[in-house]
Symmetry: C2
Subunit: 195 residues, 2 copies
Amino acid sequence: MSVARNRKESGTAERMLDIAERLVQIRGFSNFSYADIATELGITKASLHYHYPGKAELGLALITRYAERFNQALDEIDRDLPDARSRLEAYVDLYAGVLRNERMCMCGILAAEYQTLPDAMRASVIRFFDENQTWLAKLLEDGRADGTLNYVGHAEDVAQGILSTLEGAMLVARPYGDLRRFDAAAKPLLASLTA
Amino acid sequence: MSVARNRKESGTAERMLDIAERLVQIRGFSNFSYADIATELGITKASLHYHYPGKAELGLALITRYAERFNQALDEIDRDLPDARSRLEAYVDLYAGVLRNERMCMCGILAAEYQTLPDAMRASVIRFFDENQTWLAKLLEDGRADGTLNYVGHAEDVAQGILSTLEGAMLVARPYGDLRRFDAAAKPLLASLTA
DNA sequence: GTCTATAGGCAGATAGAC
DNA sequence: GTCTATCTGCCTATAGAC
């Protein structure tokens, strides 16, 4: 695989990830092929195996990059927004943005095909959810402290609920192609957490 | 296909559906094959095509039967339980029961692979969600009337939110193999709707 | 209704030349 | 890094005998 240059090389490996990422989020991991990527990239299937020897390795790289970027986005939210309530709104909007691109959360769609995933990918899907939940739990505690959020019970439990609700809202909204379906789940969720 | 006898013949066609139903709910529609069914049933792949000529027809029959049974369960809930609040609890428990069998809601998992489904199947997935939502919306209105449920806004919107939340709770809970994850989303949902 | 046999396609993957 | 050529395996599906 090509040497990591300072930033934003757009080599073949990176472009493979871009294409595969979109395909996974739209069709699912088992419903796209090396042939799909090759066609779109304008090179042969065989060449792709030079960059990622097998689909399992490609899949792992896909989740890893996705999770990294997601965590970066969470860091930016923490940096840019002052209170827990507005951070939660930004988090919800992160999900809405995925849906606006007519995609599903990568780890949400991988959760659906979890039983057929390579082991390494399974662990990474779980890790993505765990990281989301940890971030949310901290957010909830901050929200209690700064008075912008309100909830009963343990922050970890509420965080689980938020994650599940947003994943489900994406899952169901996408077949309808209707963003308002996402809002129908997200808005009451936000309302129920508002102090 | 065999003539419809009065009830509960368990012919090959029916047993195909039983096996395929479980496989879909665990692996997804594109991740099981006629070979899987044939092995489990002890007959050859070719024989299966006599009952359902193609996978699209099989898939359609799967959703149709699933939705029928689901609607029957909803009728029973309406018949057996007195107030909206207890009916809603029974509805939530219907979903929990699917998860207890280590399965995902069939239409939830099909929603994840929606973009790769045959047209006829797509329409049936949407219909399943619509029927759920209609039933829930009526339930919510009854709950307002009998004083056992409480919510703001339109019943249809809240119904969308409930459906999304439960589907998401199943989706995320299953990789963990942990029913408590489902509860973490379901309990606050019920709490937020309780008068 | 179920069988054998087979077609035809596409999947992921490898060897070796350039 | 990318190519051609090829392999092996699985998939859905069909023809025709029993």
